[in-house]
Homo-oligomer: 312 residues x 2
């Protein structure tokens, strides 16, 4: 867990950060920026009045508005923490308000779509640095965030050949100050890797819990009762934000359909092996999956995320 650090810099990294969208990730970022003293002013914007009031009550920022352009005006850094489907709309809404030299970044789980959706609408002299902090929980909303959410996790930046390198350096500095390890990667490659490590597991969890949801009520009660047998883990994953995941599906469609196709094929092979009583095939299949688990443990990536009790 992170301890409140002394700012690394004499002055804050950014005079003014605008955070557009104040859900799990946006509110965690606001808390981390405050905790590490990374901005002189945190401007928060979100579409709904109700969410904005929650953010204000939690004291997440220095100013609050439902007008994204107002928050973005004069900001050195604008971080879009909205679902992927809203990136283009918000980009258009704020582009006129952005000052020259401003950096615009995001936190979305698909990066080619962000470059496509924002690329056209940004004025000259504004620098786009697409980013994906790979961290999260199954909870949503401003009250779900916490400053140490990013601690020890990876953040992937996907600059293009045109991206301003100073801007990349500043966004890297932001996420490193939030405790993340930062990597740069081609956007399309990011989308393929995340389709496997994040999107496929999420969609499979939704599907498996959906299959159970279709059962009649008596069976459903029993499924909940005996869920500790393995099903429970999937229901936790499947409790994640539906709008966010709808947009991931629509925006990373090609990579997701490719990996779902491979998975379906593997599932067919499993069904065939069970149907034909192929014990050796099953034992081999169930043994070789241990290799990746060992790799994850060796890489220290096996620690679960637990929200610290003393943080709100």
């Amino acid at each position: 867990m992170s301890q409140p650090n002394k700012p690394i810099f004499e002055r804050p990294m950014f005079e003014r950060i605008a955070i557009i969208g104040i859900g799990l990730i946006g509110s965690s970022l606001a808390r981390a920026v405050r905790e590490h003293g990374l901005a002189g002013h945190i401007a928060i914007a979100t579409r709904s009045n109700q969410t904005l009031e929650k953010a204000e009550k939690l004291g997440l920022g220095d100013s609050y508005t439902t007008d994204a352009a107002l928050a973005a005006a004069d900001a050195d850094l604008v971080v879009l923490c909205v679902p992927l489907g809203s990136i283009g709309v918000v980009g258009k809404a704020i582009s006129g308000a952005l000052k020259s030299g401003a950096i615009i970044s995001d936190v979305g789980s698909s990066k080619t779509s962000v470059i496509k959706d924002l690329g056209g609408s940004l004025p000259d002299g504004v620098h786009l640095v697409p980013a994906h902090p790979v961290a999260g929980t199954e909870f949503s909303g401003p009250e779900a965030g916490y400053a140490s959410l990013f601690d020890g996790h990876w953040c992937v930046l996907t600059p293009t050949a045109d991206t301003n390198m100073d801007a990349v350096k500043k966004v890297r500095g932001l996420w490193e100050a939030c405790g993340m390890k930062v990597e740069e990667m081609d956007a399309a490659h990011h989308d393929q890797v995340l389709a496997i490590t994040s999107h496929l597991p999420q969609l499979i969890a939704y599907t498996i819990v959906g299959t159970a949801t279709d059962m009649e009520d008596d069976s459903k009660r029993e499924i909940m009762k005996y869920s500790a047998g393995g099903f429970r883990d999937f229901t936790r994953i499947a409790a994640s934000d539906p709008v966010m995941w709808r947009d991931v599906c629509l925006k990373n469609k090609d990579a997701i359909l490719d990996i779902l196709g491979r998975f379906s094929q593997d599932l067919n092979n499993l069904q065939r092996a069970i149907s034909n009583d192929e014990g050796d095939f099953l034992e081999t299949m169930f043994s070789r999956t241990r290799e990746i688990r060992s790799g994850i443990i060796e890489m220290g990536q096996d620690k679960p995320d637990i929200k610290p009790k003393d943080q709100t």
Copy 2:
């Protein structure tokens, strides 16, 4: 977590308990029986010398043998904690040694197969009480067990019309003393419920990790690196004992193929919806799965199993 309780009875519940198979479940049972003072003598049998030595080193029982019949001789209760595929063989091996009035039970995740595999070989006067303590972790072997593994979880008994009711009562008492909530159920019904809550999630986890295992080495490294995005949870589940799960597939084949068929159909629908950009379908599908999660939390079934640090 359970505290060492004073035995509820003046005398131990059983003079002699034989535990055949000393993996995660068998060794946890041995520890719980000892901790709660439920048996005068704990006889441990397992096929491999190496495992037996580990059990002896851990002090899990009062006697140790690789001869299951020797452990079962004179036992009031014999609990088979072997993979489902070995139940029939072990049943035959011990049937001649069982004393009249002895109870034979098991811990397997499929119950019709246990009744079928043991039913024919038991002598008159020996009572079969099929049981399934629904608890476990992804770890295997005698060193993986701990006494509180069963605490607060469900144990399902599947007596038939012929089953001796006193014997059922005694097996119920055993698992209740180990901290479990006990239910009785028809064996076929048990097999259907567990196919959904336990076998389907397990097989999906194996498949998803298998799909990733088939990737080339560079991708595999990246998958491990970014596994915190959701994939990691599946690798934990997919680290479970391959032989145990091979046998579950072969022994609960019909119920598993039925539920895998439903799941495949739902997965096809998801692929179609993504392919056709059906945002509303996706959002609805991802929203309704929250209902079951809420039910699980309300029923208090959402606590993860964590091995206490001070136990071995």
